[in-house]
Subunit: 508 residues, 2 copies
């Protein structure tokens, strides 16, 4: 429907001999931070795609469109060129630009039919959704005091040194960083982390290191690479719920062993080892999630001796071991294994440095790493080289040490405050946690922290109910308090509310 | 074995009342770019860990160590404080620093035992290694002309705008970027890509988008989430070998359908659909890997009609579709599906922009994405927020358009050169490839490109043998030539060598 349009724009008078409805140009709105010509191109594309501009239709002249959209003529000229590059328009010499026919929806439509995707999903995908606590969790309202997070406090982040690390690394090898890397990881970071682990007392002979997208990918890769001779894994009870999820998703049965004051209960561990066969044990020796317990050095040795006796390899979650506030060096389990290869160590700085940089590592027997490397490559080619190189440069510059000094001081202060508030304000409960970013609270048997949560939520306080960490359906009387991102005042006020509410519920 | 040591250092004379062997301090070497005190701390740690400094042994005074290691006394003081922070030393007021006993290996050693990891691996891990062509590939020597890569040319990278994008994003929301993000992805990027896909003609109603660590993670997540009703997938033959690997690793049988000049062979496709049942089809409509063919718009429609007739959903690999040098807009298959939800589109800018930024996306039915989000969370929590935000800012700033203009011109020139060289210098063969970053060469039946490769390698030229792309054990007479990272002179010289060598082999 070509035709003649007339319109007034300021003092300009123009006649548009193209056709269509003039109002179509009324809804163009510029946004900041994006080149004008790109926005004009995108806008014209959308008019073409929704059929407002039709095949072989002449486009407004560049002068006309610049008046209509109130943008410079140069922007329109560039936009038309880009439109042509993208195959949405063509130019007829001396006549102007036309909409390309091939771009139009009516020329590209096949029969419309629908798939019932849910009925086609694997049991694994359905289970992943079912176990996805992020989809079940409650969200904090604006003024809610939330103890649910154990992510680091953003205000402690050391942005300047991250920027510096980025710029330094980019200027040294920017082109390389942006092209493909290696499945095993960025070599300088691998070498750095090997030395780092050696300084934790690990005998590195016969071992190798693979970089992963954080702890979770590392754990999932290890589990998928482990054959299921017995189909069962030992772990602490309670334990990290993401680990429980991934064990289930990988088809493993789970046998939990109770915790006591200084870590896993040895008697029960021995009993479990007597009673069953396990493909491996998953252990979190430091700032155990959710109990916050650090396994004592003596117990570490005794656990490792038991594992050796029964021939059960260990997957060690090095979670937060950097956050130790003070006291003597506690070597990881993999250090206790000496020259042996029975421990797979999973490391990450996520909770310590930056979770947004998805970088973790697997340290293990070198033959095992050789196979894990292929599994990693099949899953995601490699971990972001940019993330790895920024982390490397940041570590090399000694920033971890500086940052930890600051973070430990701050988290220690918050830990002590939270602990004191729990002791003072919570009735009838045991509190565990040797530091880290969270505490674990156990109320008397029969008490329900889900009921407590429902009541506290009304009063503007939320926390993580503990039952999801348990392997055997218990733990209804427990909760986890993450304090890393809660202000001092709110810690005191929030725990006060939890305490008062608990007291009321306990009274019945 | 405490004792007295004497040594001379320049004009200084010092008596060290600590004990041990003085030579132990001889192997300290400073490296650039790392704070001195951290290096001193690391060095002392390693002495403790290898037993050269023993439990309860007194450390040299800060003055002594500064002389021994030739570093400032302040560095030693900081190093000792850090050593203490890490639990490797303690201070006795007025007396000095001592090695902490708990840090020592003899106190942390459990029985050493070894696991035969290979015998404990899952069949999937073993298969991943077996199908890992990166471990089988030949590496290019220093002066070798290598046509094996189809990665982008690094020298085209636009480092300044990447840096700018990083700094802009960091200054807007640095703290947020470094903390945890969302499994679905970084919201501004999701919104940008939705609009981007809409401008390719996709009807976005009822659809949603998930960010992944590149194409590979997206593909693997989709395959693991698909139930196996029939356990079989249709694809082009030949096709992308990583896709073949991931299909096999996910337990799918593969039915390949031959390619012809303008894409998949419709007659054979129809026959395959008649003969079997498939969970889905995996298709690469643009710059198909390895043949370089762009499926014609008419064929796209006819393929989609066939898929609708037989009720087979499509996984569309949007590989390199941005690299179209010119000509009219070719809509992706998902656009042809209109308001239907039968196509899962996998996108990535890896080959176009920066493979080092591991960012891809899955565009599909919104209920399906809801489940895929949980699978993604279980695998790797989320994709690097830093990568996503840099990409977002880069795209927002209109840099993709500018970059593509440059890249298309350069790759087009190289494509034409490579095509001309193949036509002129290769004997008896068909060459396919409509652009992109590679061409595909087919020699007469019976010819072996593995033999050709062995001979060319001696002459300093390598390429990718084609058989690994085939689903049925054929393709021994084919090879892929990636030209994106080969200099013009080398393209001509390399293809000349391949041609002469092939001629000799053909003559027998």
């Amino acid at each position: 429907m070509p035709g003649l349009w007339f319109f007034f724009y300021g003092k300009d008078y123009a006649m548009i001999a193209t056709g269509g409805d003039l109002r179509m140009f009324n809804d163009f709105r510029l946004i900041a931070g994006r080149p004008v010509y790109v926005q004009v191109k995108d806008y014209m594309k959308s008019l073409i795609l929704r059929g407002a501009l039709q095949g072989e239709q002449k486009l407004p002249s560049t002068r006309e469109l610049s008046l209509l959209l109130k943008v410079s003529r140069n922007s329109v000229i560039s936009a038309y060129m880009a439109l042509e590059d993208d195959g949405f328009a063509y130019t007829v010499q001396g006549q102007g630009s036309y909409v390309s026919n091939a771009a139009l929806p009516e020329n590209t439509a096949a029969p419309v039919w629908s798939v019932d995707w849910k009925s086609r999903l694997s049991s694994r995908a359905l289970l992943a959704e079912e176990l996805d606590i992020m989809k079940r969790g409650i969200r904090a309202g604006k003024d809610t005091i939330s103890f649910t997070s154990i992510a680091p406090d953003e205000s402690l982040f050391d942005l300047d040194n991250v920027k510096r690390a980025f710029l330094e690394r980019m200027s040294v090898e920017g082109n390389v960083l942006l092209n493909y890397g290696y499945a095993k990881g960025y070599k300088p970071l691998i070498d750095y982390l090997k030395q780092y682990m050696e300084h934790k007392g690990v005998d590195m002979r016969g071992k190798d290191l693979l970089i992963t997208n954080g702890f979770t990918e590392g754990f999932d890769i290890v589990l998928s690479a482990l054959g299921q001779r017995h189909g069962k894994v030992l772990c602490e009870n309670p334990t990290h719920h993401t680990a429980l999820k991934n064990l289930q998703l990988n088809g493993f049965g789970i046998r939990g062993v109770a915790m006591e004051r200084d870590g896993i209960h040895l008697g029960e561990l021995k009993q479990a080892l007597e009673e069953g066969m396990y493909d491996c044990a998953y252990l979190v020796p430091s700032y155990h999630n959710p109990t916050g317990i650090v396994m004592s050095p003596e117990k570490r040795l005794r656990v490792m001796k038991l594992m050796a006796d029964y021939g059960v390899p260990v997957i060690e979650d090095g979670f937060n071991e950097e956050l130790r506030y003070s006291g003597s060096h506690v070597a990881p389990l993999i250090a206790a294994a000496g020259g042996g290869n029975s421990v797979i160590y999973l490391g990450s700085f996520s909770k310590v440095l930056f979770p947004g940089l998805r970088v973790g590592w697997v340290l293990a027997d070198q033959e095992l790493i050789y196979y894990l490397e292929s599994v990693k490559r099949a899953r995601s080619i490699h971990t972001s080289t940019l993330d790895q190189s920024i982390l490397y440069q940041y570590l090399l510059g000694g920033n971890l040490e500086k940052y930890l000094k600051r973070a430990r001081t701050e988290y220690k202060r918050k830990y002590e405050l939270t602990m004191a508030c729990c002791r003072e304000l919570l009735p009838d409960c045991r509190v565990s946690g040797d530091g880290g970013l969270h505490l674990f609270v156990t109320f008397p048997e029969g008490f329900s922290t889900r009921e407590l949560l429902a009541a506290c939520r009304e009063l503007g306080v939320i926390f993580t109910v503990g039952d999801m960490f348990f392997t055997d359906g218990t733990g209804q009387n427990t909760l986890r308090l993450g304090f890393s991102r809660v202000a001092d005042d709110d810690i005191r006020r929030g725990i006060g509310i939890i305490g008062r509410t608990a007291r009321q519920l306990l009274l019945g």
